[in-house]
């Protein structure tokens, strides 16, 4: 029996974005995803915004440690080392 291949709808696509970005979609689903993105302006924009959000989330990192906290932790290390000896 001839099975008709159906493309993804927008509603289906939005559920697959993280899998797509993780490279976790099957080859078939990835093709369907990319075919839809190529043809659909809204979903293309949605994917772009999803990626922009992820990039902005990564910018939340601040990598400096509070000097007071650092001192406390080093003091704690000193105590531990002494107790061990």
């Amino acid at each position: 029996m001839w099975r008709r291949k159906r493309g993804l709808t927008c509603q289906e696509l939005v559920e697959l974005v993280t899998e797509y970005l993780d490279g976790a979609l099957s080859r078939r689903d990835r093709s369907r995803f990319e075919a839809h993105i190529t043809a659909c302006t809204n979903c293309r924009e949605y994917l772009k915004q999803f990626e922009q959000t992820i990039a902005a989330t990564g910018a939340l990192r601040e990598d400096d440690i509070d000097p007071a906290v650092r001192d406390t932790l080093l003091a704690q290390f000193g105590d531990w080392r002494r107790d061990r000896a």
Binding site: C10, Q11, V14, Q49, I54, L60, L74, F77
Partner: protein, 189 residues
């Protein structure tokens, strides 16, 4: 220094090795702890207690996981006993990541997706930070580790003891909600 050299140095009482590790991991550990507890102050206490747990557990560390993963698991365990921010696990539902009302019957977008205007990085950080703060714990911890800290899927699954599939579902829900928060901000701004 690789993990086993680092662990050996710590066991020898090498303070500079410990300082280096503290500098490298503490900010991320604090952010991670914040995903579990109510206030930054409690998060700081959790981190301090976790480091103590690390030192005390050093002799038992076998290197089956990476040092970082092992340390973060300690943070998670301490944080969970210290602060219940809300019900720990939300029942796993099949609800979609995007509200079905956004779509027409045929599954198309009911209204167009408008491109975003440039927003000050500072403002955007605030919106995203708040949105993450409102997520259920499991979604919060996954997006924290994956997208804020930049960890791999495997490392996250290791620390949070989740299957890869579950981890990805949680991440997707979290990201969808955060994206929505930015969209709502964009529409008002």
């Amino acid at each position: 220094m690789n993990d086993s050299d680092l662990v050996a140095a710590l066991r020898r009482g090498d303070e500079s090795a410990f300082a280096q590790l503290v500098d490298e991991l503490t900010p991320g550990m604090r952010r991670f702890a914040r995903a579990f507890v109510r206030t930054p102050a409690v998060a700081d206490e959790v981190v301090q207690e976790a480091w103590l747990g690390v030192l005390r557990g050093l002799d038992r560390f076998e290197g089956r996981s990476s040092l970082k993963t092992w340390i973060y698991r300690i943070v998670a365990n301490v944080a969970r006993t210290r602060g219940v921010r809300e019900a720990r696990s939300v029942p796993f539902t099949d609800e979609p990541a995007v509200d079905p009302d956004r779509f027409s019957d045929g599954g198309h977008w009911a209204s167009p997706i408008e491109p975003w205007d440039a927003v000050l990085a500072q403002e955007l950080r605030g919106v995203i930070d708040r949105a993450i703060g409102e997520l259920p714990e499991q979604q919060r911890t996954v997006i924290q580790l994956r997208d804020v800290e930049g960890w791999s899927s495997e490392e996250v699954c290791n620390v949070l003891e989740l299957s890869e599939t579950n981890q990805r579902v949680l991440l997707h829900r979290a990201r969808s909600k955060v994206r929505l928060a930015v969209e709502e901000y964009e529409h008002v701004a």
